[in-house]
Point group: C2
Chain length 268, copies 2
Amino acid sequence: MTANLNGIRSAASKGFFPWFLTQEIDVLCVQETKAQQHQLSEQILAVPGYVSLFEDAEKRGYSGVALYARIAPDRVHRGIGLADLDAEGRYLQADWGNLSIASFYAPSGTSGAERQAQKERYMERLTTMFGEMLADQRQYILCGDMNIAHTTRDIKNWRSNQNTPGFLPHERAWLDHVFDDIGICDAFRAVDQRDEQYTWWSMRANARANNVGWRIDYHFVTPNLRASVREAIITPQPFFSDHAPLIITYDLDLPTHQPHYPPLGLTS
Amino acid sequence: MTANLNGIRSAASKGFFPWFLTQEIDVLCVQETKAQQHQLSEQILAVPGYVSLFEDAEKRGYSGVALYARIAPDRVHRGIGLADLDAEGRYLQADWGNLSIASFYAPSGTSGAERQAQKERYMERLTTMFGEMLADQRQYILCGDMNIAHTTRDIKNWRSNQNTPGFLPHERAWLDHVFDDIGICDAFRAVDQRDEQYTWWSMRANARANNVGWRIDYHFVTPNLRASVREAIITPQPFFSDHAPLIITYDLDLPTHQPHYPPLGLTS
DNA sequence: CGTAGTATG
DNA sequence: CATACTACG
């Protein structure tokens, strides 16, 4: 499951974690924790049956990603190698044997040219990383909020948003390149071709009730996992955030679904 | 009526003005509007049957007093003659013939020595003004939040608050001086000798439910009005703010209770 | 604890 | 429009 929670504390106060525990999830990738680990309650730090990992922004109340897993990873990687963006808590990867899963959060470009430039630096770095991921033969699932809708069926009002960051022609072309040229798989689209399958709705103007949304949250997977993608589910209910969680089920031979990882409180 | 509304917009959203209109009030003095006039809705600016006057802080969202009256005053005075404190919107006086009514808001000293020093400058200036008011023979009613509880019966936990700004020995002694030496009348105490008659409760720790309060809101009246004080009522219900409105009824010969001042929208 | 402001999205 | 942080009380 990947979920931009728009404040992990806010989502927790709306019952996210009790609901999450009903979903039988092996790995949860969270974006926009908007908190530093020292500010988190036990309910958030020590989810029964999971190890939790946090990659916080240096700036309080801003950005930040997390990853919860039933099985403790062998190794953890933080950041994408760009110091300023890494200080914003935007990439956290866990490795289990041949499999890596990451929680990523691309910058939003909606607050101005400077942030759009940072978003594009993040995109460029991902381009390089995707190439390396394909080359090293391991299996990768990058889960997160890319802040880009791909095609006209991934956004309600595509015409009026052609000049809006998140649906700019060159952003969409970058996703074309990632999927068509590099060969990364959009796991949702591997199994679901329907339109109006959105993962984010503006909080303004009743956008969610009218399903005026965008599909900007993804599982980016290496082609060696394409055949393993079994099912994709967006869960807009219950409401925890302006984003809906996206659950993708993979057929994998890894012991990622042990009945219960002992709740050892291994919170880092 | 005097009421520290701790945000006039917040109080309005809780229904303060509809309730106020049921109370048959001639003059309303408001403190802590926490807004500038240009931010106010018509519901707040144009209360039917009243003229409204606002004395805002220069700093947005901070302090500010207002005065509503059934009868338009002959003259309005703003500030106490101390430029820095006057920039915080802490004094607004309206005159009708021989009668003046003011809405005042003394600085709080609870956030540090610097603010306590400002509070004491405000107190000193009031001392001078009280002397002048007695000398000029007019009738004065100064309504507002003094941020000082007078005696041990004006505060729940007097022992533990002897070192707390708002109940410091020299603050209490200043009120002794104002009442006993200068001759200003505490209109509430002119007609009500009960203890536990509080006008403010901390918003923390369930203080209001347990009536852990302070009487820090006053009508300060010149001695030529003492005999006119008929009744004092604190209205802790309904809840609009951390302060309760204080209503004092005066027997006066002035036309302050015309059935309805025409709602002309005279909002300044 | 609660009303404001601010940044950020 | 919503989650944060901050100031102030």
